[in-house]
Amino acid sequence: MSDTYTLYNSTVMDHFMNPRNMGDLKDADGVGEVGAAACGDIMKISLKIREGRIEDARFKTFGCGSAIASSSMATELIKGRTIEEAMSFSNQEVVNALGGLPPVKIHCSVLAEEALKAALEDYVKRHPEAVAKPESVPA
Protein backbone atom coordinates (compact mmCIF):
# COMPACT_ATOMS: atom_id res chain seq x y z
CA MET A 1 0.00 0.00 0.00
CA SER A 2 3.05 2.26 -0.18
CA ASP A 3 2.12 4.50 -3.09
CA THR A 4 -1.54 3.62 -3.09
CA TYR A 5 -4.04 6.41 -2.54
CA THR A 6 -6.85 5.49 -0.20
CA LEU A 7 -10.22 6.98 0.58
CA TYR A 8 -9.74 6.31 4.29
CA ASN A 9 -6.71 6.40 6.53
CA SER A 10 -4.55 3.30 6.82
CA THR A 11 -6.23 2.04 10.02
CA VAL A 12 -9.67 2.21 8.45
CA MET A 13 -8.38 0.59 5.28
CA ASP A 14 -6.76 -2.17 7.30
CA HIS A 15 -10.00 -2.90 9.17
CA PHE A 16 -11.92 -2.83 5.90
CA MET A 17 -9.57 -5.18 4.09
CA ASN A 18 -8.79 -7.43 7.03
CA PRO A 19 -11.80 -7.16 9.26
CA ARG A 20 -11.41 -8.50 12.80
CA ASN A 21 -14.13 -10.65 14.33
CA MET A 22 -16.08 -11.01 11.14
CA GLY A 23 -18.80 -13.60 11.26
CA ASP A 24 -21.48 -14.93 13.60
CA LEU A 25 -21.18 -16.55 17.01
CA LYS A 26 -22.71 -19.92 17.49
CA ASP A 27 -24.95 -19.78 20.56
CA ALA A 28 -24.51 -16.04 20.95
CA ASP A 29 -25.82 -14.61 24.22
CA GLY A 30 -26.97 -11.45 22.55
CA VAL A 31 -27.50 -10.42 18.94
CA GLY A 32 -28.27 -6.92 17.63
CA GLU A 33 -29.07 -6.00 14.06
CA VAL A 34 -29.67 -2.39 13.16
CA GLY A 35 -30.07 -0.38 10.00
CA ALA A 36 -29.26 3.21 9.14
CA ALA A 37 -32.26 4.88 7.64
CA ALA A 38 -30.03 7.56 6.17
CA CYS A 39 -27.92 5.41 3.91
CA GLY A 40 -29.39 1.92 4.05
CA ASP A 41 -26.47 0.20 5.78
CA ILE A 42 -27.20 -2.78 8.01
CA MET A 43 -25.00 -4.04 10.83
CA LYS A 44 -25.27 -7.08 13.04
CA ILE A 45 -23.25 -7.73 16.19
CA SER A 46 -23.27 -10.98 18.16
CA LEU A 47 -21.90 -11.24 21.70
CA LYS A 48 -20.69 -14.03 23.90
CA ILE A 49 -20.96 -12.90 27.52
CA ARG A 50 -19.52 -14.69 30.50
CA GLU A 51 -19.70 -13.47 34.11
CA GLY A 52 -20.90 -10.05 33.12
CA ARG A 53 -18.06 -9.54 30.70
CA ILE A 54 -17.97 -9.60 26.90
CA GLU A 55 -15.92 -12.61 26.11
CA ASP A 56 -16.29 -12.56 22.37
CA ALA A 57 -17.91 -10.44 19.69
CA ARG A 58 -18.57 -10.86 15.98
CA PHE A 59 -20.03 -8.64 13.31
CA LYS A 60 -21.55 -8.81 9.89
CA THR A 61 -22.10 -5.66 7.89
CA PHE A 62 -23.90 -4.65 4.74
CA GLY A 63 -22.40 -1.25 4.11
CA CYS A 64 -19.55 0.86 2.93
CA GLY A 65 -15.89 0.57 3.81
CA SER A 66 -16.16 2.71 6.88
CA ALA A 67 -19.19 0.78 8.10
CA ILE A 68 -17.24 -2.45 7.85
CA ALA A 69 -14.21 -0.90 9.52
CA SER A 70 -16.38 0.64 12.26
CA SER A 71 -17.96 -2.68 13.13
CA SER A 72 -14.60 -4.43 13.03
CA MET A 73 -13.10 -1.85 15.36
CA ALA A 74 -16.14 -1.80 17.65
CA THR A 75 -15.96 -5.56 18.20
CA GLU A 76 -12.24 -5.25 18.94
CA LEU A 77 -12.81 -2.49 21.45
CA ILE A 78 -15.57 -4.08 23.46
CA LYS A 79 -14.07 -7.48 23.95
CA GLY A 80 -13.24 -7.91 27.62
CA ARG A 81 -15.48 -5.08 28.83
CA THR A 82 -18.16 -5.54 31.44
CA ILE A 83 -21.76 -5.09 30.43
CA GLU A 84 -21.89 -1.89 32.37
CA GLU A 85 -18.83 -0.54 30.63
CA ALA A 86 -20.17 -1.65 27.28
CA MET A 87 -23.49 0.10 27.98
CA SER A 88 -21.71 3.43 27.99
CA PHE A 89 -19.73 2.68 24.85
CA SER A 90 -19.78 5.60 22.46
CA ASN A 91 -19.20 5.85 18.73
CA GLN A 92 -16.49 8.41 19.44
CA GLU A 93 -14.29 5.60 20.72
CA VAL A 94 -14.60 3.91 17.35
CA VAL A 95 -13.80 7.13 15.52
CA ASN A 96 -10.77 7.76 17.72
CA ALA A 97 -9.49 4.22 17.48
CA LEU A 98 -9.82 4.37 13.71
CA GLY A 99 -7.86 7.58 13.67
CA GLY A 100 -10.82 9.53 12.34
CA LEU A 101 -13.52 9.13 9.72
CA PRO A 102 -14.69 11.56 7.03
CA PRO A 103 -17.50 13.75 8.43
CA VAL A 104 -20.09 12.19 6.13
CA LYS A 105 -19.13 8.75 7.47
CA ILE A 106 -19.38 9.40 11.20
CA HIS A 107 -22.84 7.85 11.14
CA CYS A 108 -21.18 4.49 10.40
CA SER A 109 -19.60 4.57 13.84
CA VAL A 110 -22.95 5.48 15.33
CA LEU A 111 -24.41 2.43 13.65
CA ALA A 112 -21.73 0.29 15.29
CA GLU A 113 -22.61 1.74 18.68
CA GLU A 114 -26.29 1.06 18.01
CA ALA A 115 -25.63 -2.51 16.92
CA LEU A 116 -23.63 -3.14 20.08
CA LYS A 117 -26.35 -1.62 22.28
CA ALA A 118 -28.98 -3.66 20.48
CA ALA A 119 -26.98 -6.82 21.16
CA LEU A 120 -26.58 -5.86 24.82
CA GLU A 121 -30.30 -5.17 25.09
CA ASP A 122 -30.99 -8.54 23.57
CA TYR A 123 -28.72 -10.09 26.17
CA VAL A 124 -30.37 -8.19 29.01
CA LYS A 125 -33.81 -9.19 27.79
CA ARG A 126 -32.69 -12.77 27.94
CA HIS A 127 -30.80 -12.31 31.25
CA PRO A 128 -32.60 -9.66 33.33
CA GLU A 129 -30.58 -10.70 36.40
CA ALA A 130 -27.41 -9.40 34.73
CA VAL A 131 -28.31 -5.79 35.40
CA ALA A 132 -29.68 -6.17 38.92
CA LYS A 133 -26.57 -4.24 40.02
CA PRO A 134 -26.30 -5.63 43.58
CA GLU A 135 -22.98 -3.87 44.14
CA SER A 136 -23.86 -0.48 42.73
CA VAL A 137 -22.66 2.41 44.85
CA PRO A 138 -25.23 5.16 45.61
CA ALA A 139 -24.45 8.32 43.70
Partner: protein, 421 residues
Protein backbone atom coordinates in the same frame (compact mmCIF):
# COMPACT_ATOMS: atom_id res chain seq x y z
CA UNK B 1 -1.07 -6.13 -10.63
CA UNK B 2 -3.08 -5.43 -13.75
CA UNK B 3 -4.75 -2.04 -13.74
CA UNK B 4 -8.00 -1.60 -15.59
CA UNK B 5 -9.59 1.81 -15.91
CA UNK B 6 -13.34 1.38 -16.24
CA UNK B 7 -14.51 4.84 -15.28
CA UNK B 8 -14.48 6.67 -18.60
CA UNK B 9 -17.67 8.48 -17.71
CA UNK B 10 -15.76 10.30 -14.98
CA UNK B 11 -12.59 11.10 -16.89
CA UNK B 12 -10.55 10.10 -19.90
CA UNK B 13 -6.83 10.56 -20.47
CA UNK B 14 -5.91 13.37 -22.83
CA UNK B 15 -4.96 12.34 -26.35
CA UNK B 16 -1.23 12.88 -26.90
CA UNK B 17 -1.94 14.75 -30.12
CA UNK B 18 -4.33 17.06 -28.28
CA UNK B 19 -1.66 17.73 -25.69
CA UNK B 20 0.88 18.54 -28.38
CA UNK B 21 -1.57 20.96 -29.98
CA UNK B 22 -2.14 22.67 -26.64
CA UNK B 23 1.47 22.94 -25.60
CA UNK B 24 2.49 26.16 -27.41
CA UNK B 25 -0.60 27.97 -26.12
CA UNK B 26 0.68 27.85 -22.56
CA UNK B 27 4.04 29.57 -22.78
CA UNK B 28 4.34 30.92 -26.29
CA UNK B 29 0.92 31.83 -27.71
CA UNK B 30 -0.40 32.93 -24.37
CA UNK B 31 -2.37 35.95 -25.59
CA UNK B 32 -5.89 36.85 -24.54
CA UNK B 33 -8.36 36.39 -27.37
CA UNK B 34 -9.83 39.82 -26.63
CA UNK B 35 -6.55 41.59 -27.31
CA UNK B 36 -6.17 43.40 -30.62
CA UNK B 37 -2.44 42.77 -31.02
CA UNK B 38 -0.48 39.81 -32.45
CA UNK B 39 -0.80 37.76 -29.29
CA UNK B 40 -4.55 38.16 -29.23
CA UNK B 41 -5.16 37.84 -32.95
CA UNK B 42 -3.17 34.65 -33.20
CA UNK B 43 -5.25 32.88 -30.58
CA UNK B 44 -8.44 34.20 -32.17
CA UNK B 45 -7.61 32.13 -35.23
CA UNK B 46 -7.06 29.11 -33.01
CA UNK B 47 -10.39 29.77 -31.37
CA UNK B 48 -12.18 29.89 -34.69
CA UNK B 49 -10.63 26.64 -35.83
CA UNK B 50 -11.58 24.96 -32.55
CA UNK B 51 -15.18 26.11 -33.01
CA UNK B 52 -15.23 24.60 -36.48
CA UNK B 53 -13.94 21.32 -35.11
CA UNK B 54 -16.75 21.15 -32.53
CA UNK B 55 -19.31 22.23 -35.11
CA UNK B 56 -18.19 19.40 -37.38
CA UNK B 57 -18.52 16.81 -34.62
CA UNK B 58 -22.19 17.56 -34.06
CA UNK B 59 -23.25 18.70 -37.52
CA UNK B 60 -23.74 22.37 -36.67
CA UNK B 61 -24.26 24.65 -39.65
CA UNK B 62 -21.70 27.22 -38.58
CA UNK B 63 -18.94 27.67 -36.06
CA UNK B 64 -20.84 30.70 -34.83
CA UNK B 65 -23.32 28.32 -33.25
CA UNK B 66 -20.61 26.93 -30.95
CA UNK B 67 -19.98 28.52 -27.55
CA UNK B 68 -17.23 27.53 -25.18
CA UNK B 69 -17.84 27.26 -21.43
CA UNK B 70 -15.76 25.74 -18.65
CA UNK B 71 -17.40 22.31 -18.52
CA UNK B 72 -20.53 20.27 -19.15
CA UNK B 73 -22.10 21.55 -15.97
CA UNK B 74 -21.76 25.17 -17.00
CA UNK B 75 -23.07 24.36 -20.48
CA UNK B 76 -26.13 22.72 -18.93
CA UNK B 77 -26.67 25.66 -16.58
CA UNK B 78 -26.34 28.08 -19.48
CA UNK B 79 -28.75 26.10 -21.65
CA UNK B 80 -31.43 25.79 -18.99
CA UNK B 81 -31.17 29.18 -17.29
CA UNK B 82 -30.06 31.08 -20.38
CA UNK B 83 -33.16 29.98 -22.30
CA UNK B 84 -35.43 30.39 -19.29
CA UNK B 85 -34.29 33.98 -18.63
CA UNK B 86 -34.38 34.84 -22.33
CA UNK B 87 -38.00 33.74 -22.61
CA UNK B 88 -39.20 34.87 -19.22
CA UNK B 89 -41.94 37.06 -20.68
CA UNK B 90 -43.23 34.22 -22.83
CA UNK B 91 -43.71 31.77 -20.00
CA UNK B 92 -42.10 30.24 -16.95
CA UNK B 93 -42.61 26.53 -17.39
CA UNK B 94 -39.96 23.94 -18.15
CA UNK B 95 -40.18 20.27 -19.06
CA UNK B 96 -37.33 17.87 -18.30
CA UNK B 97 -36.94 14.12 -18.23
CA UNK B 98 -36.73 12.61 -14.76
CA UNK B 99 -33.25 11.22 -15.37
CA UNK B 100 -31.37 14.34 -16.45
CA UNK B 101 -27.95 14.93 -14.94
CA UNK B 102 -27.87 16.94 -11.66
CA UNK B 103 -26.50 19.92 -13.62
CA UNK B 104 -29.88 20.11 -15.36
CA UNK B 105 -32.00 18.98 -12.41
CA UNK B 106 -30.43 21.42 -9.98
CA UNK B 107 -30.56 24.29 -12.46
CA UNK B 108 -34.26 23.62 -12.74
CA UNK B 109 -34.63 23.51 -8.97
CA UNK B 110 -32.89 26.85 -8.74
CA UNK B 111 -35.31 28.33 -11.26
CA UNK B 112 -38.22 26.86 -9.32
CA UNK B 113 -37.11 28.92 -6.34
CA UNK B 114 -37.26 31.96 -8.64
CA UNK B 115 -40.84 31.33 -9.69
CA UNK B 116 -40.55 28.91 -12.59
CA UNK B 117 -42.45 25.63 -12.59
CA UNK B 118 -41.19 22.41 -14.02
CA UNK B 119 -42.66 19.10 -15.09
CA UNK B 120 -40.42 16.05 -14.73
CA UNK B 121 -41.38 13.49 -17.33
CA UNK B 122 -41.09 9.91 -16.05
CA UNK B 123 -39.01 7.21 -17.70
CA UNK B 124 -39.80 3.51 -17.90
CA UNK B 125 -37.89 0.70 -16.18
CA UNK B 126 -35.20 0.78 -18.85
CA UNK B 127 -34.79 4.53 -18.52
CA UNK B 128 -36.54 5.61 -21.72
CA UNK B 129 -38.60 8.77 -21.58
CA UNK B 130 -42.33 8.26 -21.94
CA UNK B 131 -43.31 10.21 -25.05
CA UNK B 132 -47.00 10.43 -24.18
CA UNK B 133 -46.17 11.96 -20.85
CA UNK B 134 -43.78 14.35 -22.58
CA UNK B 135 -46.50 15.47 -24.97
CA UNK B 136 -48.89 16.05 -22.10
CA UNK B 137 -46.33 17.93 -20.07
CA UNK B 138 -46.01 20.75 -22.59
CA UNK B 139 -48.20 23.77 -21.82
CA UNK B 140 -48.62 27.16 -23.46
CA UNK B 141 -46.24 28.49 -20.78
CA UNK B 142 -43.48 26.01 -21.64
CA UNK B 143 -40.32 27.68 -22.93
CA UNK B 144 -37.89 24.75 -22.90
CA UNK B 145 -37.83 20.98 -23.07
CA UNK B 146 -34.64 19.30 -21.81
CA UNK B 147 -34.05 15.64 -22.63
CA UNK B 148 -30.56 14.13 -22.59
CA UNK B 149 -29.34 11.97 -25.44
CA UNK B 150 -27.81 9.20 -23.36
CA UNK B 151 -28.19 8.67 -19.66
CA UNK B 152 -24.89 9.03 -17.81
CA UNK B 153 -25.67 6.28 -15.28
CA UNK B 154 -27.50 3.56 -17.17
CA UNK B 155 -26.67 4.29 -20.80
CA UNK B 156 -30.23 4.45 -22.15
CA UNK B 157 -30.29 6.13 -25.55
CA UNK B 158 -33.37 8.33 -25.60
CA UNK B 159 -35.64 8.33 -28.66
CA UNK B 160 -34.32 11.80 -29.31
CA UNK B 161 -35.68 12.17 -32.83
CA UNK B 162 -39.17 11.46 -31.53
CA UNK B 163 -38.58 13.92 -28.72
CA UNK B 164 -37.42 16.45 -31.31
CA UNK B 165 -40.58 15.87 -33.35
CA UNK B 166 -42.77 16.44 -30.29
CA UNK B 167 -40.96 19.71 -29.54
CA UNK B 168 -41.04 20.84 -33.16
CA UNK B 169 -44.79 20.17 -33.32
CA UNK B 170 -45.28 22.22 -30.17
CA UNK B 171 -42.83 24.92 -31.28
CA UNK B 172 -40.77 24.62 -28.10
CA UNK B 173 -36.95 24.72 -28.16
CA UNK B 174 -35.34 21.42 -27.24
CA UNK B 175 -32.12 21.19 -25.25
CA UNK B 176 -30.25 17.90 -25.52
CA UNK B 177 -27.48 17.15 -23.03
CA UNK B 178 -25.10 15.02 -25.10
CA UNK B 179 -22.39 14.75 -22.47
CA UNK B 180 -22.69 10.97 -22.28
CA UNK B 181 -22.96 10.45 -26.04
CA UNK B 182 -20.72 13.01 -27.76
CA UNK B 183 -17.68 11.35 -29.23
CA UNK B 184 -19.25 7.90 -28.88
CA UNK B 185 -22.49 8.12 -30.82
CA UNK B 186 -23.09 10.10 -34.01
CA UNK B 187 -24.78 13.43 -33.26
CA UNK B 188 -26.56 15.58 -35.79
CA UNK B 189 -28.03 18.60 -34.05
CA UNK B 190 -30.27 19.39 -37.00
CA UNK B 191 -31.64 15.87 -37.38
CA UNK B 192 -32.30 15.87 -33.63
CA UNK B 193 -34.26 19.07 -33.99
CA UNK B 194 -32.27 20.47 -31.10
CA UNK B 195 -32.03 24.19 -30.40
CA UNK B 196 -29.32 23.59 -27.84
CA UNK B 197 -26.87 20.78 -27.37
CA UNK B 198 -24.17 20.53 -24.70
CA UNK B 199 -21.22 18.25 -24.25
CA UNK B 200 -17.74 18.08 -22.78
CA UNK B 201 -14.62 17.06 -24.69
CA UNK B 202 -13.09 15.62 -21.52
CA UNK B 203 -15.44 12.71 -22.06
CA UNK B 204 -13.78 11.80 -25.34
CA UNK B 205 -10.06 12.24 -24.59
CA UNK B 206 -10.06 16.02 -24.66
CA UNK B 207 -8.82 18.19 -21.80
CA UNK B 208 -10.71 19.25 -18.71
CA UNK B 209 -11.60 22.93 -18.40
CA UNK B 210 -13.81 23.33 -21.43
CA UNK B 211 -17.43 22.59 -22.21
CA UNK B 212 -19.32 23.16 -25.42
CA UNK B 213 -22.75 24.58 -26.04
CA UNK B 214 -24.31 24.47 -29.48
CA UNK B 215 -27.05 27.01 -29.99
CA UNK B 216 -29.16 27.17 -33.14
CA UNK B 217 -28.87 30.71 -34.42
CA UNK B 218 -32.56 31.36 -33.92
CA UNK B 219 -32.72 30.12 -30.32
CA UNK B 220 -32.92 32.87 -27.74
CA UNK B 221 -30.26 32.58 -25.09
CA UNK B 222 -28.90 35.08 -22.58
CA UNK B 223 -25.69 34.97 -20.61
CA UNK B 224 -25.59 33.62 -17.05
CA UNK B 225 -22.00 34.56 -16.23
CA UNK B 226 -21.86 38.31 -16.68
CA UNK B 227 -18.90 40.49 -17.54
CA UNK B 228 -17.07 41.04 -20.79
CA UNK B 229 -18.32 40.36 -24.29
CA UNK B 230 -16.49 37.11 -24.93
CA UNK B 231 -18.30 34.33 -26.80
CA UNK B 232 -20.59 36.75 -28.58
CA UNK B 233 -21.70 38.17 -25.24
CA UNK B 234 -23.07 34.82 -24.11
CA UNK B 235 -20.19 33.78 -21.85
CA UNK B 236 -18.01 36.36 -20.17
CA UNK B 237 -14.54 35.53 -18.94
CA UNK B 238 -11.06 34.95 -20.33
CA UNK B 239 -11.19 32.01 -22.73
CA UNK B 240 -9.24 28.92 -21.74
CA UNK B 241 -7.41 28.82 -25.05
CA UNK B 242 -5.10 25.83 -24.52
CA UNK B 243 -8.01 23.65 -23.43
CA UNK B 244 -10.19 24.91 -26.27
CA UNK B 245 -7.44 24.06 -28.76
CA UNK B 246 -6.97 20.59 -27.28
CA UNK B 247 -10.71 20.03 -27.28
CA UNK B 248 -10.78 20.84 -30.97
CA UNK B 249 -8.21 18.17 -31.72
CA UNK B 250 -10.08 15.68 -29.54
CA UNK B 251 -13.29 16.44 -31.44
CA UNK B 252 -11.59 15.95 -34.77
CA UNK B 253 -10.10 12.64 -33.74
CA UNK B 254 -13.36 11.54 -32.14
CA UNK B 255 -15.25 12.27 -35.36
CA UNK B 256 -12.73 10.25 -37.33
CA UNK B 257 -12.55 7.30 -34.96
CA UNK B 258 -16.10 7.33 -33.69
CA UNK B 259 -17.32 4.17 -35.37
CA UNK B 260 -14.22 2.12 -34.64
CA UNK B 261 -14.11 3.25 -31.01
CA UNK B 262 -17.79 2.48 -30.58
CA UNK B 263 -17.55 -0.94 -32.19
CA UNK B 264 -14.58 -1.74 -29.97
CA UNK B 265 -16.27 -0.82 -26.70
CA UNK B 266 -19.53 -2.46 -27.80
CA UNK B 267 -17.70 -5.77 -28.17
CA UNK B 268 -16.17 -5.39 -24.72
CA UNK B 269 -19.51 -4.34 -23.29
CA UNK B 270 -21.14 -7.58 -24.36
CA UNK B 271 -18.20 -9.63 -23.16
CA UNK B 272 -18.29 -7.87 -19.81
CA UNK B 273 -21.98 -8.30 -19.17
CA UNK B 274 -22.02 -11.89 -20.41
CA UNK B 275 -19.05 -12.68 -18.20
CA UNK B 276 -20.53 -11.09 -15.11
CA UNK B 277 -23.88 -12.72 -15.62
CA UNK B 278 -22.21 -16.13 -15.91
CA UNK B 279 -19.90 -15.72 -12.92
CA UNK B 280 -21.90 -13.75 -10.38
CA UNK B 281 -25.24 -15.02 -9.12
CA UNK B 282 -27.94 -12.49 -8.21
CA UNK B 283 -26.70 -9.72 -10.43
CA UNK B 284 -28.83 -7.37 -12.52
CA UNK B 285 -28.07 -5.10 -15.48
CA UNK B 286 -29.69 -1.69 -15.04
CA UNK B 287 -30.85 0.02 -18.19
CA UNK B 288 -31.40 -1.57 -21.60
CA UNK B 289 -29.55 -4.64 -22.82
CA UNK B 290 -26.42 -3.99 -24.87
CA UNK B 291 -27.65 -3.16 -28.36
CA UNK B 292 -29.21 -0.23 -30.18
CA UNK B 293 -30.92 1.09 -27.03
CA UNK B 294 -27.79 1.39 -24.93
CA UNK B 295 -24.60 3.43 -25.19
CA UNK B 296 -21.84 1.02 -26.15
CA UNK B 297 -19.50 2.03 -23.34
CA UNK B 298 -21.70 1.67 -20.27
CA UNK B 299 -22.47 -1.25 -17.98
CA UNK B 300 -24.49 -0.55 -14.85
CA UNK B 301 -25.04 -3.46 -12.48
CA UNK B 302 -26.61 -4.15 -9.15
CA UNK B 303 -25.20 -7.02 -7.15
CA UNK B 304 -27.59 -8.19 -4.52
CA UNK B 305 -26.91 -8.44 -0.77
CA UNK B 306 -23.82 -6.26 -0.82
CA UNK B 307 -23.23 -2.54 -0.94
CA UNK B 308 -21.56 -0.54 -3.71
CA UNK B 309 -18.79 1.38 -1.97
CA UNK B 310 -17.23 -1.78 -0.63
CA UNK B 311 -17.30 -3.27 -4.12
CA UNK B 312 -15.73 -0.13 -5.52
CA UNK B 313 -12.95 -0.03 -2.91
CA UNK B 314 -12.09 -3.69 -3.34
CA UNK B 315 -12.09 -3.29 -7.11
CA UNK B 316 -9.70 -0.38 -6.67
CA UNK B 317 -7.41 -2.42 -4.45
CA UNK B 318 -7.31 -4.91 -7.32
CA UNK B 319 -6.42 -2.20 -9.81
CA UNK B 320 -9.90 -1.78 -11.25
CA UNK B 321 -11.34 1.75 -11.35
CA UNK B 322 -15.14 1.94 -11.35
CA UNK B 323 -17.96 4.21 -10.14
CA UNK B 324 -21.13 3.62 -8.17
CA UNK B 325 -24.55 5.19 -7.78
CA UNK B 326 -24.91 3.84 -4.26
CA UNK B 327 -25.85 6.26 -1.49
CA UNK B 328 -22.66 5.48 0.42
CA UNK B 329 -20.66 6.81 -2.48
CA UNK B 330 -22.55 10.07 -2.85
CA UNK B 331 -21.82 12.86 -0.44
CA UNK B 332 -25.53 13.41 0.05
CA UNK B 333 -26.08 9.79 1.16
CA UNK B 334 -28.75 9.46 -1.52
CA UNK B 335 -28.82 6.83 -4.21
CA UNK B 336 -28.58 8.08 -7.77
CA UNK B 337 -31.88 9.72 -8.73
CA UNK B 338 -31.65 7.82 -12.00
CA UNK B 339 -31.87 4.49 -10.20
CA UNK B 340 -34.81 5.83 -8.22
CA UNK B 341 -36.48 7.03 -11.42
CA UNK B 342 -36.34 3.60 -13.05
CA UNK B 343 -37.96 2.22 -9.91
CA UNK B 344 -35.01 0.13 -8.83
CA UNK B 345 -35.45 -1.54 -5.46
CA UNK B 346 -33.48 0.32 -2.81
CA UNK B 347 -31.46 -2.76 -1.94
CA UNK B 348 -30.34 -3.09 -5.54
CA UNK B 349 -29.57 0.59 -5.79
CA UNK B 350 -27.30 0.19 -2.78
CA UNK B 351 -25.39 -2.56 -4.53
CA UNK B 352 -24.82 -0.48 -7.63
CA UNK B 353 -21.68 -0.27 -9.74
CA UNK B 354 -21.05 1.66 -12.96
CA UNK B 355 -18.40 0.42 -15.37
CA UNK B 356 -17.62 2.56 -18.39
CA UNK B 357 -15.34 1.32 -21.13
CA UNK B 358 -12.83 3.20 -23.23
CA UNK B 359 -10.86 2.83 -26.40
CA UNK B 360 -7.81 1.42 -24.64
CA UNK B 361 -9.55 -1.35 -22.73
CA UNK B 362 -8.90 -4.89 -23.95
CA UNK B 363 -10.56 -8.28 -23.77
CA UNK B 364 -7.97 -9.35 -21.23
CA UNK B 365 -8.99 -6.34 -19.11
CA UNK B 366 -12.59 -7.45 -19.25
CA UNK B 367 -11.76 -11.03 -18.35
CA UNK B 368 -9.67 -9.88 -15.41
CA UNK B 369 -12.53 -7.70 -14.20
CA UNK B 370 -15.07 -10.51 -14.42
CA UNK B 371 -12.84 -12.93 -12.55
CA UNK B 372 -11.80 -10.41 -9.90
CA UNK B 373 -15.29 -9.09 -9.42
CA UNK B 374 -16.65 -12.59 -8.76
CA UNK B 375 -14.10 -12.97 -5.96
CA UNK B 376 -14.92 -9.55 -4.51
CA UNK B 377 -18.59 -10.37 -4.44
CA UNK B 378 -17.79 -13.61 -2.63
CA UNK B 379 -15.77 -11.78 -0.02
CA UNK B 380 -18.37 -9.08 0.61
CA UNK B 381 -21.26 -11.54 0.71
CA UNK B 382 -19.28 -13.48 3.30
CA UNK B 383 -19.37 -10.33 5.44
CA UNK B 384 -22.98 -9.42 4.71
CA UNK B 385 -25.73 -10.21 7.19
CA UNK B 386 -28.17 -10.01 4.28
CA UNK B 387 -26.51 -12.80 2.33
CA UNK B 388 -26.56 -14.98 5.42
CA UNK B 389 -30.20 -14.17 6.04
CA UNK B 390 -30.99 -14.88 2.41
CA UNK B 391 -29.28 -18.24 2.68
CA UNK B 392 -31.22 -18.97 5.85
CA UNK B 393 -34.50 -18.05 4.12
CA UNK B 394 -35.13 -14.98 6.29
CA UNK B 395 -35.14 -12.64 3.32
CA UNK B 396 -35.75 -13.20 -0.35
CA UNK B 397 -33.91 -12.13 -3.48
CA UNK B 398 -35.28 -9.26 -5.57
CA UNK B 399 -33.50 -10.42 -8.69
CA UNK B 400 -34.51 -14.09 -8.52
CA UNK B 401 -37.21 -14.46 -5.86
CA UNK B 402 -37.73 -17.87 -4.36
CA UNK B 403 -40.91 -16.93 -2.58
CA UNK B 404 -39.25 -17.49 0.80
CA UNK B 405 -38.74 -14.81 3.42
CA UNK B 406 -39.52 -11.13 3.51
CA UNK B 407 -38.05 -8.59 1.14
CA UNK B 408 -34.76 -6.86 1.83
CA UNK B 409 -36.54 -3.55 2.13
CA UNK B 410 -39.03 -4.91 4.67
CA UNK B 411 -36.14 -6.36 6.60
CA UNK B 412 -34.13 -3.17 6.47
CA UNK B 413 -37.14 -1.19 7.64
CA UNK B 414 -37.68 -3.60 10.50
CA UNK B 415 -34.12 -3.38 11.78
CA UNK B 416 -33.74 0.35 11.26
CA UNK B 417 -37.19 1.14 12.60
CA UNK B 418 -37.71 3.35 9.55
CA UNK B 419 -38.36 2.58 5.89
CA UNK B 420 -35.15 2.22 3.91
CA UNK B 421 -36.34 4.51 1.13
Amino acid sequence: MRTVYLDHQSATPLLPEAFEAMRPYFTEYYGNASSLHQHGLRVREALKKARQQQAALVGAESDEEIFFTSDGTESANLAVKGVAYANERKGKHLVVSATEHPSVMNSVEFLEKQGWTCTRVPVNAEGFIQLDALRKAITPQTVLVAVHHVNHDIGSIQPIHDVGAVCAAAGIPLYVDCEASAGWLPIDVRAMGASLVSFSPHRFYGPKGVGVLYRHRRARLVSILHGGVQEGGRRAGTENIPAIVGAGVAAEVAARELSSRSAHVARLQTRLWDGLLAKVPFIKLNGPLPGPGRAPNNINISTEFIEGEGQLLLCDLHGIAVASGSSCVSKSLKISHVLAAIGLDHALAQGNLILTLGKDNTEADVDYVVETFAKIVGKLRGMSPMWDEFERGVIDSVIAPRGVGRSFSEHAAAVSGKPAH
